[in-house]
Symmetry: C2
């Protein structure tokens, strides 16, 4: 075999298949634990209570003795499987222990290991990016990127100088222009960029994320809606790209306030695994250059090998590279990569807060990056993804109603499909769990696969068999 099993390398004890406790009260301990937790913490979104001491590799254990093959992986956040021994070594290191107990204000009093920690993160930076700023979550990363964009946008007008006017300094303390200008970030319908107020203003996938919250009045362009299969719909999809790019162009001319940046996911994930072509993204790059705006690629869900390359947008060959690339989830640490030194604000303390990131999570990111490179995991994910995609295509022939618009070809295991409607999708997710698979949805009617990077052909076989078993009862 050309490639030895990486899951066997890390996890010689990984189960051979899921374990489903078939007793009628198979989730009674989990239910009890949820009820207890609910007295102190909002636990209404809890699927089950896990036992992480027993979870291993691609398998997540619950407190009722079930062992699920996990193709959701903490909403796409576990890169190397549960209890990965290489990461346990990182967690036990003196460096990590110090980062935990002596958490520094990184912008004021960094430790002498910060340069190495940041260097390890940059070793896996997207092509063309050589600097990083650290944050704490995907939403935080995006908002820090917005700040960088707005600082840059206004600085350009001043020639990158810091000569704020007296009027700016006075008005900003009242949250008024010109010190606090009306500026916008353009994002897309069906986008998900986080759930704080500015990131939430850019998010546009589900009402429940946004209802009752004040928001910035920022424009939402349309993201391409392709016809599938792609190879049979080349022309119509090309027209769709052009239509959507025109909408973006138009917004730059018509929106009531200046648009300082475009924010976009390489693949809209939470919003339904909506894909767009390299040409579409190249078009966005061109529009930002033409209009003096910046391009932020939100790689929070797509980053770190998940699509078969380290960063999904690297397949788009953008020239110049995106101005900012945000990350979180699989990297465990969060922040944005950039390359243009002018993205660094023209004064200290503009991009700043007490912690400026978490060195413990940054150390872990370095450890994850190292393993990903060492074992060439994006390429492995690509190989497994191709294998899985072909099996799903075959299954699609048999169950076309339940495997609609299969998407993610050549995107490793970053695969999704749609069902008829929300009710059928939800039933499918639940039936899959009973079949031993922990699996997640996206949009209202779709299923998304987000396994770890150590998910292999043998796991794909189990997954496909479970899907077939479930669908055979429909």
């Amino acid at each position: 075999m050309a490639t030895a099993s990486i899951s066997a390398h890390y996890f010689p004890e990984e189960p051979k298949e899921p374990i489903v406790n078939t007793a009628s009260n198979s989730q009674s301990k989990s239910k009890e634990a949820i009820e207890k937790l609910s007295k102190k913490f909002d636990a209404r979104g809890v699927y089950f209570v896990a036992d992480y001491a027993k979870s291993i590799g691609n398998y997540i254990a619950d407190v009722d003795g079930n062992m699920y093959l996990d193709v959701y992986a903490q909403i796409s956040s576990i890169a190397l499987g549960y209890n990965n021994p290489a990461l346990i070594d990182v967690a036990k290191s003196d460096k990590m222990i110090r980062a935990i107990v002596d958490r520094p204000a990184l912008g004021n009093f960094p430790g002498n290991d910060l340069e190495e920690i940041v260097g390890d993160i940059l070793k896996v930076a997207p092509k063309g990016q050589d600097k990083v700023w650290s944050g704490l979550s995907g939403a935080d990363a995006n908002e820090l990127a917005f700040k960088a964009v707005f600082f840059w946008y206004q600085s350009q007008k001043r020639g990158y100088r810091a000569d704020f006017t007296a009027q700016e300094i006075e008005s900003v303390m009242k949250n008024q222009a010109p010190g606090s200008p009306e500026l916008a970030i353009l994002s897309f319908e069906r986008a998900f960029h986080g759930r704080l107020f500015a990131s939430g203003s850019a998010t546009c996938s589900k009402p429940i994320h946004k209802l009752d919250l004040p928001a910035f009045k920022w424009p939402k362009a349309q993201f391409p809606s392709y016809k599938y299969p792609l190879e049979d719909n080349v022309e119509v999809n090309k027209k769709e790209d052009e239509r959507c790019l025109q909408i973006v162009e138009d917004y730059f001319k018509t929106w009531s306030v200046p648009i300082a940046g475009i924010l976009v996911e390489p693949i809209q994930s939470e919003g339904g695994d909506n894909h767009a072509s390299a040409e579409f993204f190249q078009g966005l790059r061109d529009i930002t250059l033409k209009n003096g705006a910046l391009l932020i690629m939100d790689e929070v869900q797509t980053g770190v090998g998940a699509t078969g390359v380290m960063w999904a947008h690297e397949k788009f060959d953008l020239q110049p590279p995106p101005d900012l690339v945000t990350f979180s989830k699989k990297f465990q640490s969060a922040g944005y990569f950039f390359h243009d030194p002018e993205i660094i604000p023209n004064l200290a303390y503009r991009q700043f807060c007490t912690w400026c990131g978490d060195p413990a999570r940054m150390i872990l990111a370095g450890g994850i990056g190292k393993e990903v490179v060492k074992h060439n995991l994006p390429a492995r994910a690509a190989q497994v993804g191709d294998y899985l995609y072909q099996k799903l295509e075959a299954l699609q022939q048999k169950y076309p109603k339940y495997l609609r618009d299969l998407r993610g070809k050549d995107r490793a295991t970053f695969i999704a499909w749609s069902l008829e409607n929300s009710a059928t999708r939800n039933k499918f997710l639940s039936d899959m769990k009973n079949a031993g698979i922990n699996i997640g949805g996206c949009a209202e009617d779709s299923v998304r696969l987000r396994p770890t990077l150590v998910f292999e052909e043998k796991h794909a076989d189990i997954l496909v068999a479970a899907i077939e078993k479930v669908l055979s009862t429909y």
Copy 2:
């Protein structure tokens, strides 16, 4: 001695005094390290590069062999001293290692230890608070609290039901009312609540935090500006309370959009260590009750024993207790405490994100809380603070020009004073560093003391001697 030395208990090897490397190039290694770091990371705010392996207790080491007595403590964030052995034990625990390597999406797949982790945090919750929601930083905690406030505010109108109208569901996807209503959080001039967009809209201490960023148009009331010493200015300060409360009242009647909540620090910290009376805060509580709004106490900097009680607002005897209390910094974990079950949004997934906090930091918070309670550290801080305050009062007689408006009596070591202006203050901070003390400022002209909770009389003596030594040269 009634109380044995807690610093000697934790840190038998703690230095007896600062070590200042007096060579002319005493910070050459630090400068070199900053330059190297700057190629990858914005390091312009770096004071010095620390050596955390050598830091211990109240002393922070730098890479040049200096050992500073640290009364700034990572911008008020180190509770129990550097390399505290009790926290090192927590960091080495299996629970922590799992939390690091198997970070769960806490809202979907919590581990079976979450109930205990949350329970440990709640053991030190403010009086009257029995629930918690977790976040990642002070700014994040405040914004999550805003979300809870807005959900609550709109839910009240619907009778805590979730019957969103079709118009709300449609308009929210365009960031427009009624789905995305115009609602405000009232905060105060000179307040600091973080630097993301909504928290930044509530922050009002320095232009540099806010310039060039879009902001919500939220009202800023005036926070009392007292005359010092307080005991000689009782009447005039009482009038100041009344004047400021009237401004808040008026905003509820006159502001163009509904005010859903008041956000206030028990002591405005970054903004200058501005204090207000219990009566002022009781007045705010009354105004929120009268106007159907919620009260958020921002205890990010004041919390966890720093003012001689676990939570600073507990001295105000607010009835009922504040609706939400945000925390971060010394607690290392972040989030908000609350007590009213209706602060839990009426549907799941409204207050939600991938991680919903960081269990590693939550475990550490529990460990910190345990030590704080076990050694009764708030009371010890109160005792040390009284001792220190008296010494500073004596020094004030001698150097009134450089110790103006001494504040923080009966607030443990949460002490501050003003100098003539920004230039003198900055010179003072720098001179103190050369005298072996790492010390921070607040507002433009003030010095704030933010030592750990294991700062004792012997450390206070060193601090006061250094202040006197520095001021004697002015």
